[in-house]
Symmetry: C2
Subunit: 318 residues, 2 copies
């Protein structure tokens, strides 16, 4: 029986990949620059140069297949469709291209779904049948598990929870042209924008954030650092972000009644600063039958590994 699966996590900037044992150990890994390649064929060539020696080393017969997480990846069709963060435009039949190149079966899904599969097999969702992973990074993504399976929906695109409207008529999301979506607030980009808005609207309030340059240095990371030093505005930024995120999570609970919601990605580094207001707002907006029932937790998988783990786990998922 095959002992290993390959996991490939394709991001707008970097692609990480590795060979993973069935029990979730990454035995070897590497990365390449996604953004270097205007053509997907060139990308696959560089991937092959780096990955083929690894496959040879592990023994091809020991490898069950290749799992891929990618933005706008569609599990049903194995294609990436119109991914705004990738240079490869239109519909890319990536699972087929990869499978043909390496002579191994390949499965593709979007990156947040891959993270959810990773949590189910190797993370804090082990044994759970109903949970939601929310990825809080540059954007906001989601992987929804129902009855132990990733929710794909009619067309394979279910689980775009970053794009639900949380503030009707609110902040403009430049990528989608839609106002008031969760991603406009609860992403790293959103946190930065909230900080800039609060600094502008409160010109008389002192803040450590005013020492940073607006263009480059005010990031979700600097907001976090200032908040831990007791900065009033920086703390209010997390309070506001958590309030909106918690309201959205309450709505998700009333949809699928999950056992847990797992937060994943860069913004979770803010720890209790984001967790406390998020939990409070979620509980305040739940109807009685859901109150106090849903576990809200941070992912315990190391972020750098989770994407590879999750992608590889697609191969073991029935």
């Amino acid at each position: 029986m095959a002992k290993f699966a390959i996991g490939i996590d394709i991001g707008g900037t970097n692609t990480k990949f590795g060979i993973v044992s069935r029990d979730g150990k990454i035995v070897v890994q590497d990365r390449l620059l996604t953004s270097k390649h205007d053509q997907v064929q060139d990308f696959i060539e560089e991937l092959a140069e780096k990955l083929e020696p690894m496959i040879e080393e592990a023994g091809k017969k020991n490898i069950a297949g290749i799992g891929i997480g990618a933005p706008n990846g569609n599990y049903y069709t194995g294609t990436i469709e119109y991914a705004p963060n990738l240079k490869w435009k239109g519909i890319i039949p990536l699972a087929k291209l990869i499978s043909e190149k390496f002579g191994l079966p390949a499965r593709l899904t979007n990156d947040a779904n891959a993270a959810a599969v990773g949590e189910m097999m190797y993370g804090c969702a082990r044994g759970m049948k109903h949970f939601i992973v929310i990825t809080l990074g540059t954007g906001v993504g989601s992987g929804i598990v129902i009855d132990g399976k990733i929710l794909l929906g009619h067309d394979g695109f279910a689980g775009e929870l970053g794009h639900v409207i949380v503030r009707p008529g609110g902040r403009l999301h430049k990528g989608t042209g839609i106002r008031g979506s969760l991603e406009a607030y609860a992403s790293a980009t959103g946190v930065r924008e909230t900080a800039l808005e609060m600094l502008t609207e409160n010109p008389d309030v002192e803040s450590l954030l005013r020492d940073y340059s607006i263009n480059d240095l005010i990031t979700s990371q600097t907001v976090y650092e200032c908040a831990t030093k007791g900065d009033k505005i920086a703390n209010e930024v997390f309070q506001f972000t958590g309030q909106i995120l918690g309201e959205a999570l309450a709505n998700f609970v009333m949809f699928s009644s999950p056992e847990a919601i797992i937060l994943f990605g860069g913004l979770t580094k803010a720890g209790d600063l984001i967790m406390r207001p998020t939990r409070e707002a979620m509980e305040a907006h739940l109807i009685q039958i859901f109150k106090g029932k849903v576990k809200l937790m941070f992912s315990e998988l190391p972020e750098s590994d989770a994407a590879i783990l999750g992608a590889s786990a697609l191969i073991w998922e029935s």
Copy 2:
């Protein structure tokens, strides 16, 4: 093989029940007043008086079981839990009580889930694997179907879409104490409240609605009648209601990517007055990959039968 199933639809005021053939014909039906009985045992006694002769007539061996739709009905446990619209308080093991009384297997779920099963077996969702039924009545309910099965969630209470927040900090829902939920706007009660608000806020605008008494006669029905006569405020009420409902539906699409959303219940009598603004708002709030893909339709099942049909269909559902 059994030819019939019994369907029981329990509402706050009335309970309707009937014997239904496998192909969806109600061969006999009757009703009783739910609200007459303070104790569930008395309710079951009256139900038995009326239903037992029907069972005898059809032949007990021809009946596969009893399906029940009820507010806050839990499929997993067969119990009604803390239903605000029923006089029976706490947790009522209704499936067990009914099964013992009639000597037939019984299944229970909430009324909106029963409606969704009815649509899947006998209505416009035949052949669909992914769809959502939204019931627009005194309240707003929902039944969500994923991969051909009712979504129940971790605890059996999934699909409480009437309680999602659509206007943060908005109109108070008296039953839940939560502000800005869908039910506060897109229910018959919500339509009445919107009309009263618009009449108060626009004292100089003439309206046919001003001829009705505020306490009793302004209802979603009178708003509809005035709107069809070209009344400006009455038309704006539906425009506003559809805008909010459509936004909420867009959020639901981005969760589960259904093939269709089916609207059901009293408010759908407003036809295009509610459908047009709802569809426009839904499409405007969807990201590109979902636009123009989701069928938004009215249920074609006669409302009086649908609840009995749906409840009976629980017995045939695998």
